[in-house]
Each structure stands twice: as C-alpha cells, then as structure tokens.
C-alpha cells in the first residue's frame, strides 16, 4: 500500500513540478479568462440587463463561469499530456516501472486536479476587480469545489487520452467536447428559460454542476440570496452529489482504459 501511495505521489509530483516550472503557461492561460471577463463581460454588460430581473450584473454572473472555465481547460489539457508523453516516449519510462497502471492513472488524475485547482485559484485573485467579495470560508469551499470539478474533468481527460495515439485527435476533442461543455455549462447564460433542448443538453453536461455551485458560493455575500436563487439550478449539495457521480462515472472507465494500454 505504501509503495502504491509513493507511486501516486511521484506521478502527482511531476505534474505539479512541471506546472510550477512553466511560468509562461500559467500567465498564458490567464489571457483567455481575462479576455472573456473584461472584454466580453464588460462589452455585453449593458445589453445583458435581464439577469434575475435586472438585479445581477453580467460581469458578476460571468466571473464564476470563468473560474470553472479555467479549471475545465487546465484539467483536460493536463490529462491529455499523457498523449504528449506517449509521443515523446516518456510514457514508456512510467509504464515499465514497477508501479501499477491503476496507480499511474490515479496519480495523473490527482496531478491534473491539483494543477487545475491552482489555475482556478489564480482567477479568484481577480475577484476584487469585479466587485466580488470573498471571505476565507468562501475561498476554502470554492477551492474544494474547484478540486472536485477538476477531478471530474481530469478523469474525462485521462479517459480520452488513454485511447488517443496522436495530438491530431486532440483538436477534434477540443471542438466537439470541450467547447460545447463550456458553452452549455451555464457559464455564459443561465440555463433556465432557454429552449428546452438546450436546457436538457445543459443538464447532461457535467460542467453545469461545477459552474452552478461555484457561482452560488462565489457570489454569496456580494449578491442577495434571493437573487442567487433565481439564477441557480440546484442547491449546492445536489450539485456536489451529481458532480461526484460524474467523477466516478469518468474515473472508473478511465483507470480501466489506461490499465489496458500497452
């Protein structure tokens, strides 16, 4: 057992070390959220005045969505690094080591989740600029929610990566899963009051259950509770349970699929 934990820690450690080493990646990955938040957000704010019957400004609404977006993209990218490792040969070094594949896959999920949580935490630093006030409690709960969202998405990433042989396939995945998951998650618009087909798509999107609780926690205190209730989908506890179910539903096959890679 101790040996397995050490293996898991090793895989995790490498991901975190690489992340902390790559300053340009951290800064670069801030560009997109900043664009969304300050250009897209500020630009649409005057038009998007109907949120919670005019009681919620668009930038505040968008802010938690952008946190979730940073988590989503970082998580999937970091899982997909398995494909890079395969292409550049490094994966062999791991596969031939006396560490079980299951442990390697779990280590990868742990590493990707940590890195994605950090990336989300960086976005949190922008809160004062948007006029969102966060207490320490809120920050702790937000970090936990980000970690769960990240774990779900990293598991999905590992599942996709274990079947992928080249980076070309990755762009396909970007366009056909990541983008729709992001757009449907309720990050940009509330998923109530939209056409029914859209609402149903949103409901099967795991990201929806990441965005929903993150929004409720992040805006608590900055926005009256009854306003929050108007834009939320479920109570936080329900979101968390659903998200955890998605996590399991992705992680079990991900570990299984990775275990079968040669």
């Amino acid at each position: 057992m101790r040996r397995h934990l050490k293996g898991l820690y090793t895989i995790w450690y490498r991901d975190v070390l690489r992340f902390s080493r790559d300053r340009s990646r951290i800064i670069g990955s801030l560009a997109q959220p900043l664009l969304f938040l300050f250009i897209f957000g500020a630009g649409l704010s005057p038009t998007m005045t109907g949120l919670a019957q005019g009681r919620l400004d668009f930038q505040s609404f968008l802010f938690p969505g952008i946190i979730a977006m940073a988590v989503l993209f970082t998580a999937v990218f970091s899982a997909v690094s398995i494909v890079w490792d395969r292409q550049f040969g490094f994966l062999k070094e791991v596969l031939v080591a006396p560490v079980s594949r299951i442990v390697v896959a779990l280590g990868k999920v742990a590493g990707g989740s940590t890195v994605a949580m950090f990336q989300g935490a960086i976005i949190l630093l922008l809160a004062p600029l948007i006029g969102v006030h966060l207490s320490l409690d809120q920050i702790v709960v937000l970090l936990a929610l980000m970690l769960l969202t990240a774990a779900t998405m990293t598991s999905l990433g590992v599942l996709m990566a274990s079947r992928m042989r080249s980076m070309e396939g990755f762009h396909l995945i970007m366009n056909f899963t990541l983008m729709p998951m992001f757009f449907l998650s309720g990050a940009f618009f509330p998923v109530q009051g939209v056409p029914l087909w859209l609402e149903w798509l949103a409901r099967v999107d795991p990201m929806t259950y990441g965005v929903d609780p993150i929004r409720q926690v992040a805006l608590r205190g900055s926005v009256p509770d009854f306003v929050l209730e108007m834009v939320r989908l479920y109570p936080i506890a329900t979101d968390v349970v659903l998200l955890a179910l998605f996590w399991l539903a992705f992680m079990v096959p991900a570990v299984w699929a990775f275990n079968r890679t040669d």
Binding site: L17, E93, P98
Partner: protein, 332 residues
C-alpha cells in the same frame, strides 16, 4: 541462476508473427547481443522480456522472475534504455533521475549516493541541473543509461542505444557500456543492427525474420565463415571464378564486379591463388586487385541468410509505419 532464460517466446500482431519462438539463456554478468536487420523482431523480444508486451506463447525468466506471472518483480530488477528517448525534457537531468528513483522506491540515501556517481560515469556531472531540453542526442542517451542503472538493476536492456547518433558518440556509448559492466557487474542485453558494434558482446544471437539463426561468441560466429575473406578483381571474372572453384573447392561469388571467396589462412592462399589464375589451364587471367580481410559479422549474416543487413534497412518512414501498425495490432 541465469540472468535471462527465454523459452519459446512467440509474439503475433494480428497475422504478422514478429517473433517465432526464440529460446536462449543469458549468463550473469554477460554482455549479450541481439543482432539482426530492422523488423527482425529484436525490439519485440525486448518488449516481451521487460513486460511491455505479453508473449503470445512461451515465457521467460528474467533475474529469476517469470515475465508472465510476476511482471512487477521483473520490472524491479531490470533497467531499460529505449530506442527512442524517454526523458522528460522539461525537467533537469537530476529531476529525471529523482523521478525514476521515486518510481522505483529507492531510499533517499542510496539515491544521493548513486545519482552523482552515475552522472560522473556518463560525464554529465556538470549538467546535472540543466533542463534536458538543452541536451544533444548523445547526452540524452547517456543520461538514459545513467537512469537505467540508477536502481541497480540485475539486467540492463539497451535497445539500439546508438541509433541516430554520430559515430564518435556511438563509440563513446560503447565505452560506457564496457565500463558499466566492469564497475557494476550488470548483465547487459543489447540489440543493434550495426555489425561493428555487436562485437563488444560476449555472445551474439543473430536473429532474422523472428528466429534465432545462430548463437555464439563473435569469434566462433566468424569462424563459421570458413576463414578469411578474399576479394579480387581480374580481367576475366567469369573464367577466374570457374578456375578458382575447381582449384580450391569453395564457392566463389560475384559481388559488384568483384569476386569474393573465403579461404582458411588467406595470407598463405593468395600466392597459390595468383598462380592458379596465371598458370592454370587456358589463357592467363590478369589479377587487377586483391584484398584480404578477416571476416566480419556482416559476412556471417550473409552466410546465414544470403543477404546483407544493409539491404534490409528500410527507410525511417517505413519503420514508423510498421511500428504504428504493430501498435494498432496490439490493441485488437
């Protein structure tokens, strides 16, 4: 106990039989070479021995552990240097070593003692904290050798460790291999398709189309050729070939406008050979050039398979394609 005992290893990729039942033993502390053209099954065999591929049939004991039943124990007792680099080039040399040590559960003290010593051995001590990204191909390969030895494996597998390196670096790599065996007493299993390089092995298995066609020490293998190799050019090759065949009772081959024959004690045979051509029955055949050399492993390979290894060399693209196909095959 032997370092490796392979028993009838077979590996199929779909319809393609890459390895057709190979059986051999490797002694402790031996340098054992697998020599053969690309696609002969060398890498497939290594991948089975190091538990990256399951054999379709047969099995092997590596350091006393069964590759089928106890792959984890096998993994703990082997080190590997792959054909293609397998370093994380975003990490430093030392970090790559540390990652490896952690994966193999090495105690910290042992790591602190071995890592600098091994970097010293492969002459990378001064680059320990440089990112691997900044390393040349030869430096990467040397670092991989240090890494492969870090956890004190009983057997070190080197799969074409000199592929794609310049001649000077290649020579260096082999010097390290010999030094390693002296310092660490590690059993070394290597594959190569460079004939000259196989010579450092104590014993060589020549593999062709997935089968071992010969297995012996380099000297004994070369002795199979039947003496020295004499290459000569004459004014009438066809006539000369006939006359030599009759006089020496050996096969005379024509290769690129030269006559090639193998004779024991070639140095003493040359005067007689010239005499046969100038004074034999019929008109004098003029000898234009003559060359005598000791046989090489290349000659052994030609003798055994009727082809040169070089002919078999396919382009890189083709190799990639074959490998991709093999990849897909394993997933079915």
């Amino acid at each position: 106990m032997k370092a490796i005992e392979a028993q009838g290893l077979v590996r199929k990729f779909g319809d393609l039989v890459a390895v057709k039942g190979v059986t051999f033993d490797v002694e402790q502390g031996e340098i054992f070479g697998f020599l053969g053209p690309n696609g002969a099954g060398k890498t497939t065999t290594i991948n089975m021995l190091c538990t990256l591929l399951r054999p379709t049939e047969g099995t092997a004991l590596v350091a006393g552990h069964d590759i089928r039943r106890d792959p984890d124990a096998v993994r703990r007792s082997i080190g590997l240097v792959f054909q293609d680099p397998s370093l994380d080039d975003q990490l430093t040399a030392m970090e790559n070593l540390r990652f490896h040590a952690m994966l193999y559960g090495m105690p910290r003290d042992l790591f602190n003692q071995r890592a600098p010593a091994l970097l010293e051995l492969v002459e990378l001590a001064d680059r320990a904290d440089s990112l691997v990204r900044t390393f040349s191909g030869g430096m990467k390969r040397r670092l991989e050798m240090a890494r492969g030895l870090l956890h004190q494996p009983r057997v070190l597998f080197l799969d074409e460790p000199t592929l794609g390196l310049d001649p000077q670096t290649r020579r260096h790599i082999w010097e390290y291999v010999i030094r390693l065996r002296e310092q660490e007493g590690t059993t070394i299993f290597l594959t190569t398709h460079y004939m000259e390089e196989a010579e450092i092995a104590d014993r060589i298995a020549i593999i062709d189309h997935g089968e071992i066609v010969a297995l012996d020490s380099p000297d004994n293998l070369k002795a199979m050729v039947g003496g020295d190799v004499i290459t000569l050019r004459t004014s009438d090759n066809a006539g000369a070939a006939q006359r030599l065949q009759a006089a020496f009772d050996v096969e005379v081959r024509q290769v690129n406008g030269d006559l090639v024959l193998e004779l024991p004690r070639g140095d003493q045979a040359i005067p007689r050979l010239v005499q046969v051509l100038s004074n034999g029955t019929g008109p004098t055949i003029e000898v234009q050039s003559i060359n005598l050399r000791r046989p090489t492993l290349e000659d052994v390979f030609i003798r055994l398979t009727g082809r040169t290894i070089r002919e078999e060399e396919s382009s890189t693209v083709e190799r990639m394609r074959l490998r991709t196909r093999a990849w897909r095959g394993t997933r079915r």
